[in-house]
Point group: C2
Chain length 247, copies 2
DNA sequence: TTGAATGAATTAAACGTTTGTTTGTTAAAA
DNA sequence: TTTTAACAAACAAACGTTTAATTCATTCAA
């Protein structure tokens, strides 16, 4: 069983790196891959994700997970081998989901360069905002220096992948003459991800300070997401656009 | 011993909230407070800070701390009462250090509004960059929802305090007519802290991607700090300044 | 349609460590 | 003498993991 899962993932990995594949293949692979986990396994993974995000990896015991997922403690070792392998499975699942979603933006036509950047911003925002638990875990793991080489590798992959897209979008605009030349791409990426991550981490504070407590959870989420989107687009437009001069 | 420390902190707290005090009083209080901890206690606190930043609170055992600090395990309970109280002592120490540093910026004269904002940016940058370990821990604790009400309280205080300063700086510029009216202050703060925090968390990646591996640790730190400062000042200038119109 | 056989799923209990903390004791300082 | 600092040892609880037994579902010959 385990061997099969690993093989399947290496297969996905291989495809995503060697060639560009159409979306139909992507979703097919994803579906096939997700099918490797039965309902109980996915239940364990999702519960673990929520608890890891809340209390950290070391702060969450396998008994906590088992209790919340309503399974016996030994099932975690039985299904995943170990607690460490469980979080690795979580990373495999989540990163493979978004591994290829990025490519599409570059293929879009009939859009200005700044519009493509806007779409990228919303894409990143949707992804982080829709997977808050997982990205909490990712942030934590980024802070833990070199604890888990396996997971660090996944994070590094994602960063490079996202960085490449950003790079393409900006340099395209630069060669077209509508974007400024001297842009620190890395720092723009840092601002994009840093702002969203920090907004997620401090959203309750934002809610309190802006007196939005009477909004429902859903209303608040859409409100802050819209404001964040506008804020980031504004930041990027002002920074990369060639219209205004900024030393 | 503990009671005395607590009293001292409540005293600091009281002063900082009720009235504005001169710098001489501040440093005097800080010195008195720091003196409450002997060399061995401080050694434990600093080692704990480094390890908590590296491996997280739950991921660090008291034996790890004791070994690195070269003291007996039982000394931690002896001096601080518990592991939980140890991290609380760390938060008391670090937050009280920077609790009153903020006020000074508002008192500065002969500076334009944007210059004051620049000084604030550098001030925040210096503080976060100079206490990376501590702010790693703070970021982690921000992610842990409601685990430690005592520490959450400290973080909340800092956020409010910093938010108030930012608020004052911007509204001063707005009434003077040099800053735009419709600024989402919270999101600007989010971008400021988010960018710096994310830059700290991913600095090794920045180093690798920008091919700066041959720089020494010190050279790299000053370089990225200077770039960050410039980047953030640029962001703020473009965003708050009234010169350019941005919908 | 039966019924033993096979293998996977599930369980309670136990495993050996590691955890944070306490104890009792000794050495030094006040 | 009394207090404080430091230590090794021991403590119970919690940890991740394994074991062994049991239930469940599926298969396949009778």
């Amino acid at each position: 069983m385990f061997v099969k899962i690993k093989q399947s993932f290496d297969f996905v990995f291989f495809i995503s790196y060697v060639c560009i594949v159409g979306l139909e293949i992507v979703s097919a692979v994803r579906k096939e891959m997700a099918m490797e986990y039965n309902a109980k396994q996915l239940q364990i993974i999702y519960v673990a994700e929520r608890l890891f995000a809340m209390k950290g990896f070391a702060g969450t015991s396998v008994r906590d997970i088992a209790q919340e997922a309503d399974v016996n403690v030994s099932m975690i070792s039985y299904y995943f081998g170990s607690k460490e392998k469980l979080i690795e499975a979580l990373f495999e699942l989540r990163t493979s989901e978004s591994r290829l979603r990025i490519e599409n933006i570059l293929l879009l036509e009939d859009l200005t360069h700044i519009q493509k950047v806007y779409i990228m911003i919303d894409s990143v925002l949707d992804r982080l905002w829709g997977n808050q638990c997982f990205h909490n875990i990712m942030m934590r793991e980024q802070l833990s220096s070199e604890r888990t080489p396996y997971i660090s590798q996944h994070i590094l992959e994602l960063k490079i992948k996202n960085g490449e897209l950003m790079n393409r979008l900006i340099t395209d605009g630069q060669t077209a003459g509508v974007f400024r030349k001297n842009i620190d791409l890395s720092l723009m990426t840092t601002t994009l991800y840093g702002t969203i991550n920090h907004a997620i981490a401090t959203q309750e504070f934002y809610r309190k300070i802006n007196k939005l407590e009477d909004l429902s959870e859903e209303e608040f989420r859409t409100l802050i997401k819209r404001r964040l989107s506008q804020h980031l687009k504004n930041l990027f437009k002002l920074t990369v656009s060639n219209e205004h001069n900024n030393q």
